[in-house]
């Protein structure tokens, strides 16, 4: 089966992007280079094609009850036009996906990871039985573009019928681009201020070109990964999977046990504190500690495993996220990382590695 292509595929190829398969799509991993793209987002504005993310709308009289029964965070307490991060868990509390829920006056939208699109659609189908709701997968006929970085407010000025720069963090608004309906949200996955735009396929290239004309730097999934790593945002398939629960992942803030029942609630309420937990590590030197590298404690006993690691261009440091035994998780704990047979020194550090100054 061949990979899916976003409406911007040809633009990426024409602009010498290196294309890679990701979550069933052919996506750009980089254009000019990961370091330059990473720095553009931290100091200016970077542009990302994130059309591979799945966009699903959920409407109907039972939509609120349906989502409330699956989402770990509270849906009922959301205001109209608000966006909220949370998890979908299985009965044992394992994470099926991390998602964004948008609340509209007329219903809801959710954005789920590309790699989990079919799994989550099937999960929704299974749990909609007996409920009066309508679920529509909007992914194929829409595109999603992220503009991220301190200059993104400048770059969205005048582009839409409404002043999207007035949006509060984690709020969204339906608006018009060239008389076409679109949705703009103040969200992102880079640790910077920025916006995400959902627009019909036909207008994707026009929006993209407009941002490029205004000076945004096109960025691939490579920079998206190093940016989210610095911001300590988990990535499904690395920090999150069905064997890991949100408490271990440090996402307890997105689990509202007192909101009423939802799938996984009982397991999460009873979760013990003996499972490995997500921590940040700083690695001495310039070598990267990649995913899968084993960690050892001071007594040379297995301590855990790296889930994401890279040399990070902005911090100029080798950093990693890992799951380690909870008794080793306090800041300052020294650990050894086994990297292809040689041992590197690592120290547990607070997350995130990078926090923007507001």
């Amino acid at each position: 089966m061949s990979n899916l292509r976003t409406p911007l595929y040809q633009w990426h190829v024409d602009h010498k992007a290196r294309m890679v398969p990701f979550g069933g799509w052919d996506m750009p991993v980089q254009y000019a280079g990961i370091t330059a793209e990473h720095k553009a987002v931290r100091s200016g504005a970077g542009l990302f094609d994130i059309s591979h993310m799945a966009r699903i709308s959920i409407g109907g009289p039972d939509a609120l009850a349906f989502l409330e029964g699956l989402f770990t965070n509270s849906v009922a307490s959301m205001k109209n036009d608000q966006v909220r991060y949370g998890l979908l868990c299985n009965e044992s509390g394992g994470i099926l996906d991390d998602i964004l829920v948008y609340r509209w006056p007329y219903g809801f939208s959710v954005v789920v990871n590309a790699s989990n699109r079919l799994k989550i659609l099937a999960w929704f189908e299974k749990h909609r039985v007996g409920k009066n709701i309508e679920i529509v997968d909007q992914t194929d006929h829409t595109a999603m573009i992220a503009i991220q970085g301190p200059k993104s407010v400048e770059l969205v000025a005048g582009l839409f019928d409404d002043d999207v720069s007035k949006l509060k963090y984690y709020y969204a608004m339906p608006t018009l681009y060239c008389r076409q309906q679109c949705v703009v949200s103040r969200t992102g996955y880079t640790g910077e201020d920025g916006f995400e735009v959902i627009v019909s396929n036909e207008y994707a290239l026009s929006v993209w070109d407009e941002f490029i004309k205004r000076g945004a730097v096109p960025c691939g999934l490579g920079a998206r990964d190093t940016l989210r790593l610095e911001a300590a945002m988990p990535l499904y398939g690395h920090e999150l999977n069905e064997e890991i629960n949100p408490i271990q992942a440090g996402l307890g803030w997105a689990v509202k046990l007192d909101k009423g029942d939802f799938i996984g609630r009982a397991a999460l309420a009873a979760a013990d504190a003996t499972k490995p937990v997500r921590v940040g590590l700083e690695i001495e030197g310039k070598r990267a500690a990649r995913e899968g590298s084993a960690l050892l404690d001071a007594d040379n006993q297995p301590a855990g495993t790296i889930t994401s690691g890279s040399f990070c261009p902005w911090l100029d440091k080798s950093i990693a996220m890992a799951y380690i035994r909870p008794e080793l998780a306090s800041v300052g704990t020294p650990l050894d990382v086994d990297v292809r047979g040689s041992t590197l020194n690592a120290t547990v550090v607070p997350l995130p590695f990078y926090k923007r100054t507001k």
């Binding site: 991993v29 980089q30 280079g33 990961i34 370091t35 490579g222 190093t226 030197g285 310039k286 070598r287 990267a288 990649r290 890279s310 040399f311 990070c312 261009p313 990297v339 292809r340």
Partner: protein, 137 residues
């Protein structure tokens, strides 16, 4: 690809330049392009014996870690120290040379050929070009 005709190449994208019985080794422009922006380099100590086709060092970029393979049998007689950090002199590694001039200032090691060793098993520039073409580059 501008692979200099006077050099020989390994299938794993190292180049070798023979001068008497001394072979200078680096990585090709194609390898650098694939890696993008090297961030770390590890080279063997002077005096280390190397075997053709076996790893002699490591190069890392933001995204990947790769072995460097020796094109020939021999002994390391010199390393390109500017590519390496010198803690005593508080000089940091300058890997931009690998990025900007992979066939020149970005050389990595000089190897004295082992007795009887040659470069005959390595690819010519034309053969290496053909390999890159067949891999779709």
């Amino acid at each position: 690809m501008n692979n200099p005709p006077e050099l020989r190449y390994s299938p794993t994208h190292e180049w070798a330049k023979l001068d008497g019985d001394i072979v200078t080794v680096g990585i090709t422009a194609f390898a650098v392009e694939q890696l993008t922006e090297p961030t770390f380099l590890e080279l063997p100590a002077v005096g280390k014996a190397l075997t053709a086709g076996k790893a002699f060092g490591i190069i890392e970029s933001v995204k990947s870690t790769s072995d460097l393979n020796s094109p020939v049998n021999g002994t390391v007689i010199e390393r390109n120290e500017t590519l390496l950090e010198d803690k005593a002199k508080r000089r940091s590694a300058d890997l931009s040379l690998v990025n900007d001039d992979p066939f020149g200032k970005g050389w990595m090691v000089k190897i004295k050929l082992a007795p009887g060793a040659t470069l005959d098993h390595l690819l010519t520039a034309a053969q290496y070009d053909a390999q890159l073409a067949s891999e779709g580059h």
